[in-house]
């Protein structure tokens, strides 16, 4: 069990014992743990996630307030990483050991080695301080989300690029590719119509998982860019032992993750006729 008592965090260090007890009674944290848990489960089945202990607001409101920002950031981040990773990955695989391949490898090594928060700070210094293209802090417009999504996207792009390249190389060495070439199809047809479609499946899976992670909030990036996203909401909930908010957050993230996985499965059948038929 996590140590700490939310009533003490709310009451602060100077509160009298009687006041702390009144707060415990109000929050319901004076009841046995099992009772509290069963009550919470019962409420969750009726889609009631309870109220946050520290702010007194419904947990679902707090989450939905933050979700649009986190969603936009995650989608922008993943789109950016796909836009970078897939073309570069495919070129790297098709023209192995060419200049483009080395460039792609260099990018992917660097992207994986650079921590995204550090990249974020560099971007801020360059594009918000030296050249004032983007705002230094705040939220509310798409401009505020460009730099954070680049910081998030680059690291993901690095992973996806390697995966695309490896997957494409593997497909190109398979027998159906040889058959296709033997039929006299153009190199273009072989690469993009046949190999790429199959090569993309594992890439889509991993991109889906990464999108799921980002939808749970990006704590450090939110911190660097002063963004009110889900990551900071959940982080402070843990610090303050705001149990309903932590639990609501876990359920929400689990739900979003399952939904993304489901969506990826559907996408499979669009991309791969084999799955559609079976």
């Amino acid at each position: 069990m996590i140590p700490g008592d939310p009533a003490l965090t709310i009451a602060g260090v100077d509160a009298a014992e009687s006041d702390i007890q009144a707060i415990r009674a109000k929050l319901g944290t004076d009841k046995p743990m099992l009772n509290q848990y069963l009550e919470w489960i019962w409420d969750v089945f009726r889609f009631d996630f309870g109220t946050s202990l520290t702010s007194g607001r419904p947990v679902s409101d707090l989450i939905m307030e933050r979700f649009p920002l986190t969603l936009t950031l995650a989608v922008l981040g993943i789109l950016l990483s796909i836009v970078i990773a897939i073309p570069l990955g495919v070129i790297s695989a098709v023209r192995r050991w060419s200049f483009w391949d080395y460039l792609g490898m260099l990018f992917s090594q660097a992207g994986m080695a650079i921590p995204s928060f550090w990249l974020g700070i560099l971007l801020l210094m360059l594009l918000s301080i030296k050249y004032r293209v983007f705002p230094l802090f705040g939220s509310g417009s798409i401009n505020h989300l460009i730099l954070p999504s680049i910081s998030l996207g680059i690291a993901r792009a690095a992973v996806l690029l390697r995966l695309t390249r490896a997957s494409m190389v593997e497909e190109l060495s398979k027998e159906y590719v040889i058959t296709a070439r033997a039929k006299g199809l153009t190199e273009r047809m072989v690469n993009y119509k046949h190999a790429l479609r199959n090569a993309l499946l594992p890439v889509i899976t991993i991109a889906g998982i990464q999108l799921g992670y980002m939808l749970g909030g990006a704590i450090i990036i939110e911190q660097v860019f002063s963004l009110p996203g889900l990551g900071r909401l959940f982080l402070f909930a843990v610090y303050q032992r705001d149990f309903p908010l932590i639990q609501g957050g876990v359920v929400f993230v689990a739900f979003v993750f399952s939904f993304i996985n489901f969506a990826v499965d559907i996408l499979y059948s669009v991309l791969n006729p084999k799955i559609r038929i079976s």
Binding site: P3, D5, D14, A15, A16, S18, A22, K26, I129, F137
Partner: protein
Amino acid sequence: MKKSLFITLAVAMSVMLLTGIAGAKELNFALSGSPDSLDPHKTSGTLTFQTLKSVYDTLAEPDQTGKIVPALAEKWDISADGLTWTFTLRKGVVFHNNDKLTSQDVKATFERIQNKETGSPNANEFAPITSIETPDDTTVVLTLSAPSAPLLGTLASGWGAILPQSLIASNHDFAAEPVGTGPFKMTQWIRDGKIVLEKNKNYWMKGLPKLDKVTMHIIPERAVQVQGLISGQVDVSYLVDHEDEPLLNSSPDVEVNKVLTSLILVMPMNCSRPPLDNPKVRQAITHAIDKQKVLDVAHGGGKPIGTFMDYGNAYYKDFTDLYPYDPAKAKKLLAEAGVDKDREFEMFLPQNYPPHVKAGEIYQAMLTKVGLNVKIKLVDWSTWIGDVYKKAKYDFTVIGHTGKLDPNGTLANYGTVKRYVRWDNPKAAELIATAAKTDGFENRKKLYDQALQIMAEEAPFMYLGSSYRRIGTRKNVSDFRMTPSLDTFDFRWTDVK
């Protein structure tokens, strides 16, 4: 002739309009975190009170010297026996929802705090009030069960904020939408994003506030606040780290002002655990610490204190010469007390306060030099409050106590085992309890002087000092104030050029 007059008028009017728009004075303020709740009666969060100082008023308030002066109450009168307090309210004060302030609002507010269902962390401070009478619209009479000198400090603190009775009755959500009589109304709050305050044109202080709008941007990253100040996107940052000072000073547009905080920085020692139950051991430990050095390295400077009161407080008494830095003497005292060399001491440090962690690491090194075996344990804030502060499961810890408007807030219950240092000293406890019931500064100071002397001599804490706060402001900003002891932001006199 007529035509030219018309043109002149038109020009004059458009000039007035233009200056009206151009003259809208806005301040961009950097806040380090987001308040959890904006209900002044349901939280103890510093950020909440810092924000709400601009939205709410209290019956009395501290002025810039820390003296308690009238605010919503024009004057008050305390009966000779100290049991009847009569407040006369200021006339013509209106809430942001246009309700007129009456004695009913004061009554409803205090009853809300006292109500168990509110769950106010400060209800106990209002416990001496047994009845609230409202003979007319501008008079409030409080009847007390016993004389209470600290009550005035409570009424002047953020948790004494007066709320409108009509909204209390309708169960308004004050946590999200504060409605007060203060100099600004809150018009927008994006959690972890920003808080927007707009001028209350009907504020009861004539000509104030000077600003039209204050935007509090919540910027958790220190470097971003600093760069915001330099580039002009932030006008005031109130928590500048001493390490950022040279960078800010090198900017021609920014100045950094250093003011002493009301913090009492200490290393508490658990007096219920041997050998720390021996005053000699605690004195030895106090001798082992170079206080000025720790202040300089961990806090960027400060004033040493020799007892449990902040340096700038009117009740402060100097005992810094009692146990000066002297490692040789520390070793000698420890040998005399017969401290076991193998005894392992646990020092708990709150990881969310980097200066305390840094100070703890220096303490460890200094204590090792005099032959003590100290192990550091980092804990998060909830664990610190629960295990260290409430259950006293520690040997040493490092913390800072914030100042209080009334010394009883700082000292109440010390000398009894209720407090986390578990220091049992009936004489000190008696002095502190008597002082709370005593009236008049001189009379109280005599009692507190004695209590503080016992606390200095017996050393349940190693007293470090009070540190500085550095406020970074753009040079076009004037008169940004912080309330003494309460550390809240006061934008009423603030102006931008």
